[in-house]
């Protein structure tokens, strides 16, 4: 629904978007779609036109995708929409008093409203300086995905440090390309930060069934270069050799600029439900923004495709005087070995899993309940429709009766439900 726009800015206003990713593109596109007629400048650090990142670890990495398929804004669209795109340009300073943005090569632009969609950077391990750089990979950008694809083409063995979503998706793609894979995760289980144990166990089994050597609860003591690859020394003294190393240990939100500007930070840029930062002329959205999430009842910083798109749209509308807020229930997906996994809410907070169907066997959905019986999230395996119906219920403040959820004889649309509150 389009929120009511109450205060459309004047035509001589200038809006500037710092960032060149998915959130930045949706801010710019939405501003124009909602009628903003002033000057619109998008400043992206990457040389590429804004694109979506999910395929970088999947189709694009495998070589079956294309840049065109993931591009959100190109020269033609930008020209048509009147979006000035300064690509390959790093913003070095923002003067909030004068309201001027300056780039590394000395260009500057004065803004009326500013958006920060600076995303994040893949985390690196300290002590890798002695390892040949061409053997060490991270995966955040299109350039990094192309580089990793090139490396996998000649590799026999890939070592993945980090058993989170990026690490697992790359592991699955590497297996499809015929590369042997070892995943090393320091935590006792995979995806432990976001998933309940039942999902971690299923992922572990899925990857082992596809030939991945999975080591959980395994720390890394050191990484060294070898004549033809890398060697990792494990905390328990073991040693692993591989052609290439992928670090899949999360991202750091890119807050350097926001910190220098003096904006409120808390593992990311703090924003309100409309994406507004502590400076009312400045908005932030996407991976870098920490927003109050109504479903969670807490502030969250989400690194997901849906958040990058929808929070950006909400912020752009708010900047034009819209009254709507960003109130989506967290949702994201992964594809591994042809299996579609979708996650809703905060399933990692659940202590009791109620399965509909047999997700562990490849088709079904775990509903996750916390100790007071509140439905906190769900994880669907090749069961997107179940999850979609559940989302509708949760949006309405309701949850299916747990026994009914497990009963596949009743169509998911007709499950009896109750208010999603504690059952103390």
């Amino acid at each position: 629904m389009t929120a009511m726009l109450t205060a459309m800015p004047e035509n001589d206003a200038t809006y500037v978007v710092v960032g060149g990713g998915q959130a930045a593109a949706w801010i710019a596109r939405t501003l124009r779609a909602e009628g903003f007629a002033g000057r619109l400048v998008l400043i992206g650090e990457e040389p590429h036109w804004p694109y979506e990142r999910p395929a970088l670890s999947k189709e694009f990495l495998r070589g079956t995708g294309s840049v065109e398929a993931i591009t959100l804004l190109n020269a033609t669209l930008a020209e048509e929409a009147g979006i000035e795109c300064w690509l390959g340009q790093r913003v070095t300073a923002v003067d909030r008093e004068a309201r001027v943005v300056t780039t590394a090569d000395g260009r500057s632009v004065a803004y009326d409203t500013l958006f920060l969609a600076t995303g994040g950077q893949a985390r690196r391990l300290p002590g890798l300086d002695a390892v040949p750089a061409e053997r060490v990979h991270t995966l955040r950008t299109l350039t990094e995905s192309e580089r990793l694809r090139g490396a996998l083409a000649g590799a026999k063995h890939l070592l993945v440090l980090g058993g989170g979503w990026i690490g697992l998706e790359v592991a699955a793609t590497a297996r499809a390309l015929g590369v042997a894979v070892t995943v090393v995760e320091a935590a006792p289980r995979l995806c432990a930060r976001t998933m309940p144990p039942v999902v971690s166990d299923w992922l572990h089994t899925l990857h082992e069934a596809n030939g991945v050597h999975v080591l959980t609860g395994t720390g890394v003591a050191g990484v060294t270069g070898t004549a033809d690859g890398v060697a990792v020394t494990l905390a328990d003294g073991g040693r692993l050799d591989a052609d290439h190393l992928l670090l899949g240990i999360g991202i750091e939100p890119e807050v350097g600029l926001a910190a220098a500007m003096g904006l409120a930070l808390d593992d990311g840029i703090v924003v309100d439900a409309q994406g507004r930062t502590s400076d009312p002329r400045i908005f932030a959205a996407g991976d870098v923004a920490r927003h109050p999430n109504a479903f969670a009842g807490a502030a969250l910083r989400l690194e997901s495709w849906a958040n990058a798109q929808n929070q950006a749209i909400a912020a752009a509308r708010a900047a034009l005087g819209g009254t709507g807020v960003y109130a989506d229930i967290p949702w994201f997906w992964s594809d591994q070995y042809g299996v579609n996994v979708q996650m809703l809410g905060l399933p990692g907070l659940g202590t009791r899993a109620v399965a509909r169907g047999t997700p562990e066997a490849g088709s079904g959905c775990w509903l996750m309940l916390d100790e007071s019986g509140i439905a906190v999230g769900a994880v669907a395996v090749n069961a997107a429709r179940d999850l979609r119906v559940l989302r509708k219920l949760l949006e309405d403040g309701r949850a299916p009766l747990p026994d009914a959820w497990a009963d596949t004889a009743t169509p998911v649309q007709r499950l009896p439900s109750r208010p999603n509150v504690g059952m103390d």
Binding site: W26, A306, Q309, A384, R385, R388, K392
Partner: protein, 104 residues
């Protein structure tokens, strides 16, 4: 000359339901809305997903992959990330059968 293809029985769908069909090799999503039938090309214009696997609500179908919305009657995009229309096909009811035309 419009060539009509037999698609389904009129009682094969209830309101707000959708079914995926292959008509002369073309994937088609057939919808029923308030007793009337509508057909869209069964592929989202954004990603490689079948609209017939989607969720129907308020006259729109939601793509199961990215939750973009498409107007069932026209194929017009209704929400991000879908920006291109999905092709819609003419539908008619003959007796108790639904027929679809692939050409226009």
């Amino acid at each position: 000359m419009t060539e009509w293809h037999d698609a389904a029985a009129t009682d094969a769908l209830s309101d707000d339901e959708v079914m995926g069909l292959s008509i002369a090799g073309v994937p088609v999503a057939l919808f029923r809305q308030e007793g009337a039938f509508f057909a869209l090309h069964d592929l989202c214009s954004h990603g490689a997903a079948r609209l017939s696997d989607g969720f129907v609500e308020n006259g729109c179908v939601e793509c199961p992959l990215h939750q973009g919305l498409v107007d069932i009657r026209s194929g017009a995009p209704c929400s991000a990330p879908i920006t291109e229309p999905v092709r819609s096909y003419p539908v008619r009811v003959v007796g108790d059968r639904v027929e679809i035309a692939l050409n226009r």
